[in-house]
Subunit: 149 residues, 2 copies
Amino acid sequence: MASLRLDDQLCFGLYAASRAVTSLYRVVLEDLDLTYPQYLVMLALWERDHRLVKELGTELNLDSGTLSPLLKRLQTAGLVVRNRQADDERSVRVSLSDAGKALREKAEGIPDVIGTAMSLDDAGVARLRAELDRLTESVNAYREATAPA
Amino acid sequence: MASLRLDDQLCFGLYAASRAVTSLYRVVLEDLDLTYPQYLVMLALWERDHRLVKELGTELNLDSGTLSPLLKRLQTAGLVVRNRQADDERSVRVSLSDAGKALREKAEGIPDVIGTAMSLDDAGVARLRAELDRLTESVNAYREATAPA
DNA sequence: CGCAACTCAGTTGTGCACAACTGAATGTTG
DNA sequence: CAACATTCAGTTGTGCACAACTGAGTTGCG
């Protein structure tokens, strides 16, 4: 039965887990002078360079209100460069600088540290990840169905 | 194998799920004029009234930097009252106002809505919740072991 | 007792998230 | 082609999170 008891709520568990993990990243990322959301952007760029702000927003589910200042900070830190597209002046393409590419090496060890801290084997990670993805999917579907255009 | 690929990372799944759920709460809580963290504080108080700021912080894992302004907003909204303790002037006790108590009724239906949106049965909720608690525990233990006083 | 160590709530400053908006560029339609 | 709609990045304002700090209050110890 769904109740108003804090302990029962999956949501609080999710909220607590997310904050705990972010807090762990804070320590690990101190070395790279990155916040966790900045790290996510770098991950996306390491995977595929030269992305539009729009594309990053779609992949990370973040809007320009979050990304614009974040990217500005990454640029100030010398990790990325931003260029207006010539063929569509509305768009801005984000590219890694040499320093941004080089930072990848310093990041190589991070997933293992996080994995160790979580004390989950690969199967456990995959299973939990799948459940969370399903949850996100389901919640977003509900939200879109409830609050239509 | 741990990699730097965004898709592999449990952490991103966690981050995405947490934001999706918070976003759903935003819609549901609009009626009550509460944010999700404010709702968590109200849940804690509905469960047990007259709590010290310290106690709320321990239960929700939030420090005074987050709670103080949040509680001030709840007080401004007329939902809680804050009183310095007579026997220990450092402490502040937070109590529900009549309006705060009354709001509980409007909140009764929320868990079911959230449950529906998650499309998980009770067993699924309990299992995921247990996994997340274990994860939080494990990550926090690692963090405390790594960064000692 | 006296004072150093600690506890507690609160403030300040930074960086997300996100809604609402702006303004420029591009598409669309009659 | 002109009026309108849409798309995109960026800005503004609000509210968390959290680190670092402040200052008042309490405790502990010599």
